[in-house]
């Protein structure tokens, strides 16, 4: 078994293992062990990647494995990773690991819960290691569909509505994707020869201009739906608010990144001319996402809704930076994916813990939590500071890189967009500090909360894992940003070449 396929196989084996367990205790232990192994494997992959990259500086993707699957369609099971994929795999392992510990007390149907969660995880891992568009899409759908049951069955509030809305909108996105992917496939050999789903092969050919213009919107919007691109983001606040804690973490932390990842790996990389020509339209939409998400977050009282809207804003920043189409900005985009994945997972974990104790998510019904549960509150402050971009935490690294990259564009249009997006950071500070002020400081509004306990050990595991990652990236970002930068070269080269034409 090769090093990459193991990332799909281990979650599946863990699922099988869970089938043989009884009750919550056995289930969560197996899940935690499985995902612990996965986490170790992710760090091992990182180590191996650096070792391999030092030897081989030419190949775009490393650890390539390729099996022919459906011969007549030329569909392969083809895997390989570059620095970006490695970074995403690392992010996913961390978030999934923390997610398992956040759902330590899932009393209702625990086996089913963890199996669905792991199915989602294996879909995500499979997506990031795929080079073949068909298997990539297969894993994409595999990651989306368990969400329906996860939200519908273990969620809270208006969960049935949210689950259905989320599933249908994301599947709507994937319907657009099918059209785009088939468009790519049937134009992957304009000079004759075998049609292919392989990303690296398609990247070598130049697809005719009008074809690019036709299929680019389908691919970009298809992935954009999952990346919460305005106006297709409406599934996100409802979905996050209704989802159980670990699902919110995984969803905002990892699943939404599939959208951003697909946008540049498939849509922009393979259709660069169209990306250059139509980028402005989507740039406007993402600018709206950023600003609208930030203002949306101000208006909310529900903790999860605040964080969901802030996710719309931050994920908007990812696509925004991608569309700047230069190395620095795109580097920032990937860093923002990772940084946002970590801090939003931390946020949702903390909100889950607070809600589990106070049974309310309305910030005005709580107050003075810093005295009652200091551990959780301090973690909340850290997450908040990371979110508003304090130096020393991951958010600063990402946003700084994005805006430095964005300012490299000299023209008025890009400048205006950048300034608008930049201004959203101020708004972010407003809503973060407002929540921190009301929720954590000030008087305790509800006397019953005085006796609530602080974090348990498993909650601490979840928090500490994520905080370590956030701080590590904030303090020492260069290894990560260099790894990403290097892997961006072929993509940015293609986009630059398209711009000159």
């Amino acid at each position: 078994m090769d090093i990459l396929s193991l990332f799909v196989v281990v979650p599946i084996l863990t699922m099988v293992g869970i089938l043989f367990t009884k009750g919550l205790k056995g289930t969560r232990t197996v899940a935690a062990v499985g995902m612990g192994v996965q986490l170790v494997m992710a760090f091992n992959l990182l180590y191996q990647y650096f070792a391999e990259r030092a030897k081989d500086t030419v190949s775009e993707m490393l650890f390539r494995v390729d099996y022919l699957w459906f011969e007549s369609f030329n569909i392969h099971y083809s895997v390989g990773v570059d620095g970006i994929a490695v970074a995403m795999i690392l992010l996913t392992s961390i978030v999934v690991f923390a997610g398992i510990f956040s759902s330590w007390k899932t009393e209702d149907l625990p086996r089913e819960f963890f199996i669905a969660l792991l199915l989602l995880a294996s879909g995500v891992f499979g997506f990031f290691i795929s080079i073949d568009l068909f298997t990539m899409f297969l894993f994409y759908e595999l990651a989306v569909i368990p969400m329906y049951l996860l939200i519908g069955l273990w969620g809270s509030g208006n969960k049935e509505y949210s689950a259905m809305k989320l599933t249908l909108m994301l599947m709507g996105g994937s319907a657009l994707l099918i059209l785009g992917l088939l468009g790519l496939y049937f134009n992957s050999a304009p000079d004759g020869g075998a049609l292919t789903f392989n990303i690296l092969e398609i990247a070598k050919v130049s697809i005719p201009h009008d074809v690019q213009m036709f299929f680019f919107p389908f691919l970009f919007v298809g992935f954009g739906v999952l990346g919460a691109l305005f106006p297709f983001h409406t599934w996100s606040p409802d979905g996050h608010a209704s989802a159980p804690t670990a699902v919110s973490m995984l969803h905002a932390g990892v699943l939404m990144k599939l959208g951003g990842y697909g946008c540049f790996r498939v849509a922009m990389y393979l259709l660069p001319d169209a990306a250059q020509e139509m980028g402005w339209l989507f740039l406007i939409l993402t600018t709206v996402s950023i600003v609208y998400g930030a203002f949306g977050a101000i208006a909310q009282k529900d903790l999860k809704y605040i964080n969901a809207y802030s996710s719309v804003s931050h994920c908007g920043m990812v696509i925004f930076a991608l569309l700047m189409m230069n190395k620095t900005a795109m580097d920032g985009a990937i860093l923002q994916m990772i940084s946002h994945g970590l801090m939003t997972a931390l946020f949702f974990a903390l909100i889950g813990m607070i809600y589990g104790r106070t049974h309310t998510r309305n910030i005005y019904e709580m107050g003075g939590l810093m005295r009652i549960m200091p551990f959780i509150s301090v973690a909340y402050v850290i997450a908040g500071l990371a979110s508003l971009g304090l130096p020393g935490l991951s958010g600063f690294v990402a946003e700084m890189t994005i805006f430095v990259g964005s300012f490299q564009h000299q023209d008025v249009f890009h400048r205006v967009c950048t300034i608008l997006a930049c201004s959203a950071i101020v708004v972010t500070a407003v809503y973060i500090l407002r929540v921190v002020g009301i929720l954590l400081f000030g008087p305790v509004r509800n006397k019953e909360f005085e006796t609530l306990p602080d974090a348990k050990w498993y909650e601490k595991v979840s928090m500490v894992t994520l905080i370590i990652a956030i701080v590590a990236i904030g303090v020492a970002p260069l290894w990560l940003s260099d790894m990403i930068r290097e892997s961006l070269t072929p993509i940015v080269d293609k986009l630059t070449a398209a711009a000159i034409n």
Binding site: F73, L138, I145, E160, M164, L179, L182
Partner: protein, 477 residues
């Protein structure tokens, strides 16, 4: 006739032998031993299914009226598998007092329709085609009315009889015009004849198309389907919606790809419109159904619309995806029907709202039904995903704007269909219920049938050689 020609018709001949054995068994057994007949028929049919997979030569019989080609053989094998699963699911029906007296009739009638379908698929001539079609259709009405003590079942039988007679009449009228226009009913003559296409030829095509559209229940010829499906006994419904529909789709594809090859520019636009309406109407009506059988009936109408996407592509890939999708559909739909029939036979419950909280009491059956519905909706990792994706690939292979629009409409339809396929899933897993259907132990035969369907649903998707094997023998326009 020598041994060689017997071997070419082995599907049909073995089936006739089975019918005779069942009949003799009925005569030879005493009244209290009648319960042996159903398992006997099952075992014999199992042998027949295995025989179908043995390697065989291809050739023609009766001066070209009967073709035995590898692709026909694959089609028949697919139908055999489906019927075998249905026979597993049927076993328990004969425990009931009302059905005990007519066991052998059931199997003889069922097998005779299957023989009709086999002759229809193998036809090399419209006369043979029509005879096969009639043998396949008329006994079906008897099957639909099998629970004759129920008004609904009797009504279903009559409705099926009347509507299929009407459609046969239309079809026959078309065939007579075909003969008038060409002077021959042989497929090969019609295919290779040199003639200019007149309006008579076009009219022939339209009548043939309408007749077949009845059988496949394409919109606007679908009106009989929902009532018949709901009224007929559940195993007959699954037979109608899977085997009968599948066989009609097979022969429809073959005839359009051979006889009406030169008319492609006429039938493709027709099919384009009909495909869109079939998907849309089937899906929109399925949205509001609460009765599980009606729900599956409308879903199967929509599925037929998706099948047309493969036919319309007009290529070998198109034909292969159609056959492949029917295979997927056989497993998925029969798994869904299998669970529905278990629930109905044990509890008498037939609606989606009865399923509320079903997972808490019967987790395995719920998971089976969920997987079946996911497969019908086209969600990985089950075979439906591969089937749908390949159908879409077949449409996209034409690579012109109208076909991209068709593809987009089809894709939007999958979203609508996903909504209603999730409805039973929601009922089973999410909805709360104070008094859900109690746990029941299903009989071993039904369990085997369900296991075959579920295994098929997984294997057909992941094992790529199945698709490649089908494609090897397919042909385009």
């Amino acid at each position: 006739m020598n041994l060689h020609s017997f071997l070419l018709m082995r599907h049909e001949l073995v089936l006739i032998a089975i019918m005779l054995i069942v009949l003799i068994a009925e005569l030879a057994t005493k009244d209290n031993r009648k319960s042996i007949i159903a398992p006997l028929a099952l075992v014999l049919f199992g042998i027949h299914t295995v025989i179908g997979f043995l390697p065989m030569e291809s050739g023609t019989l009766f001066g070209g009226m009967f073709n035995a080609t590898p692709i026909n053989n694959i089609m028949k094998n697919i139908l055999n598998i489906g019927v075998l699963i249905i026979l597993f699911q049927t076993q328990k029906t004969f425990d009931s007092e009302l059905n005990r007296g007519k066991v052998s009739e059931y199997f003889i009638v069922l097998f005779s329709t299957l023989i009709g379908m086999f002759y229809m698929i193998s036809a090399g001539d419209f006369l043979m085609f029509y005879i096969g079609l009639e043998i396949a259709t008329i006994p079906l009405a008897a099957l639909a009315a099998f629970n004759r003590h129920e008004n609904k079942s009797a009504e279903a039988g009559i409705k099926l009889l009347l509507s299929s007679t009407l459609s046969s009449g239309i079809l026959l009228y078309g065939l007579s015009m075909l003969y008038a226009a060409n002077g021959s009913l042989f497929f090969t003559d019609l295919m290779h004849g040199t003639y200019t296409i007149t309006s008579l030829h076009t009219l022939t095509l339209i009548f043939f198309f309408a007749g077949m559209a009845f059988k496949i229940s394409l919109v606007p010829f679908h009106l009989w389907a929902a009532d018949v499906y709901e009224g007929a006994p559940v195993n007959v419904t699954s037979y109608l919606s899977v085997i009968s529909k599948g066989s009609a789709v097979f022969i429809f594809t073959v005839v359009l790809y051979t006889v009406f090859k030169n008319y492609a520019e006429t039938w493709q636009p027709m099919m384009y419109i009909i495909a869109i309406f079939t998907m849309l109407v089937g899906n929109l009506f399925a949205l509001r159904q609460n009765n599980l059988k009606r729900f599956l009936a409308f879903s199967s109408i929509a599925q037929a619309g998706f099948l047309l996407l493969g036919i319309i592509a007009g290529s070998a890939v198109g034909m292969a995806t159609v056959i492949y999708y029917v295979l997927v559909y056989v497993f998925s739909n029969l798994a869904a029907f299998g669970v529905v029939s278990m629930i109905e036979s044990h509890t008498g419950k037939t609606t989606i709202s009865d399923l509320n909280g079903f997972y808490r009491t019967n987790p395995k059956l719920s998971l089976a039904l969920m997987l079946a519905l996911f497969s019908l909706a086209g969600i990985p990792p089950v075979a439906g995903f591969f089937g749908k994706f390949f159908l879409f690939t077949a449409v996209a292979s034409v690579n012109t704007t109208p076909y991209h629009i068709l593809l987009l409409i089809a894709l939007l339809n999958t979203i609508i269909s996903l909504y209603y396929y999730l409805m039973p899933v929601k009922a089973m897993f999410i909805n709360k219920n104070e008094s859900p259907i109690a746990y029941f132990k299903s009989d071993v035969f039904a369990k085997i049938g369900l296991s075959i369907s579920l295994t098929g649903m997984v294997v057909v998707g992941f094992v790529s050689s199945i698709y490649e094997e089908i494609l090897k023998f397919c042909f385009g326009l």
